[in-house]
């Protein structure tokens, strides 16, 4: 008798907590294949959403969490212009050997050297060569406006 023919009779066991980590091995749990956003992209997306809500004259629902996040993004988003953010996104997507998480971390932390990048994102160590990574970081540095 197949047990898929009716709705589940009990709640599925939730994934065990505390196993997710992002150190040398990436274990992201339910976020494994979810689209990531660098700090600059998140800033663009949230600000565009707020502008749209303001235009439609809907309630912007400015929660505490939202305000804290917007302040944080203003302080740390490195790429302010939309074209630069899109250019960085294209640069990063070209590297299919890296996971979405790693690409977003590279775009958010904006390291100066490949060594720094590999120290802060340990899962990168074997996935990309130092020269390739340094080239990527140099290209990104050119797009960073003051």
């Amino acid at each position: 008798m197949s047990d898929q023919a009716h709705a589940p009779t009990s709640r599925a066991k939730p994934p065990p907590p505390g196993e997710e980590e992002a150190s040398a091995v990436l274990r992201l749990g339910e976020f494994d294949d979810v689209d990531t956003l660098t700090l600059s992209e998140a800033s663009l997306v949230i600000n565009a959403l707020m502008a749209k809500r303001r235009k439609d004259r809907k309630d912007r629902n400015e929660t505490d969490v939202l305000n804290k996040t917007l302040e944080y993004l203003d302080a740390f988003a490195r790429f302010k212009q939309k074209e630069n953010v899109e250019a960085v996104e294209r640069l990063l997507s070209a590297h299919k050997e890296l996971t979405k998480f790693e690409r977003a971390q590279i775009g958010s932390l904006c390291c100066d050297s490949a060594d720094e990048c590999k120290t802060l994102i340990p899962s990168l160590t074997d996935k990309i060569g130092d020269e390739d990574l340094q080239e990527l970081l140099d290209e990104m540095a050119k797009l960073m406006t003051a």
């Binding site: 907590p17 997710e20 980590e21 992002a22 150190s23 992201l28 749990g29 976020f31 979810v34 689209d35 990531t36 956003l37 660098t38 700090l39 992209e41 998140a42 997306v45 949230i46 959403l49 707020m50 809907k58 309630d59 629902n61 929660t63 505490d64 969490v65 939202l66 804290k68 996040t69 944080y72 993004l73 302080a75 740390f76 998480f101 977003a104 971390q105 958010s108 932390l109 390291c111 720094e116 120290t119 802060l120 994102i121 340990p122």
Partner: protein
């Protein structure tokens, strides 16, 4: 780390709202209920749009209509071992608190390099190595998340700046 996540939620609507614009009302209720909350492991920052509103099912006994809404949201989830940028918010002899978006991090004095010591006599009290690194409220820092604790509706984290390339940001 920010994610664009697809989530699902059951929203109920009182019969007095039945009529036109039901989908808009369901979306508004969803936004009011969910935006800005901490759903266990992650914070839901903003809801972008709803992509799937099911047919409303009237609940027996209460008359409320229940909709299962699929929506996309900007979500922030910290991971153990992730390096994040943060702003120091308060300093005390045992360490300092820092704010990374909606998350409050504590960096204990044990996880601060030995050269950087607490200086109670400075105004404001700060951690300093008496050379180029000063940690006081509103200093920008790079912190590695060592541990996370979640409780219903809130998250706390422990961080460390004891490592290469961590600590004060030069820029």
């Amino acid at each position: 780390m920010f994610f664009l996540h697809n989530l699902e939620r059951r929203v109920t609507l009182h019969p007095s709202y039945f009529g036109r614009n039901m989908h808009d009302l369901v979306t508004t209720k969803l936004v009011k209920d969910v935006e800005g909350t901490c759903a266990g492991d992650y914070y839901i920052i903003a809801i972008m749009d709803t992509f799937d509103v099911s047919e409303g099912l009237v609940l027996p006994g209460s008359g409320l209509a229940e909709f299962t809404v699929g929506y996309r949201a900007v979500v922030w989830r910290p991971f153990k071992g992730e390096v994040v940028d943060a702003i120091a918010s308060s300093v005390n002899p045992h360490g300092f608190f820092a704010q990374a978006g909606p998350l409050r991090l504590f960096v204990s004095a044990h996880l601060i390099p030995d050269e950087i010591k607490y200086d109670a006599n400075a105004t404001p009290p700060q951690f300093t190595n008496n050379a180029d690194m000063v940690i006081e409220p509103s200093t920008h820092l790079r912190v590695k998340i060592i541990g996370l604790r979640t409780e219903v509706g809130e998250m706390w984290a422990i961080g460390s700046i004891n490592g290469d390339f961590l600590g004060c940001l030069q820029a």
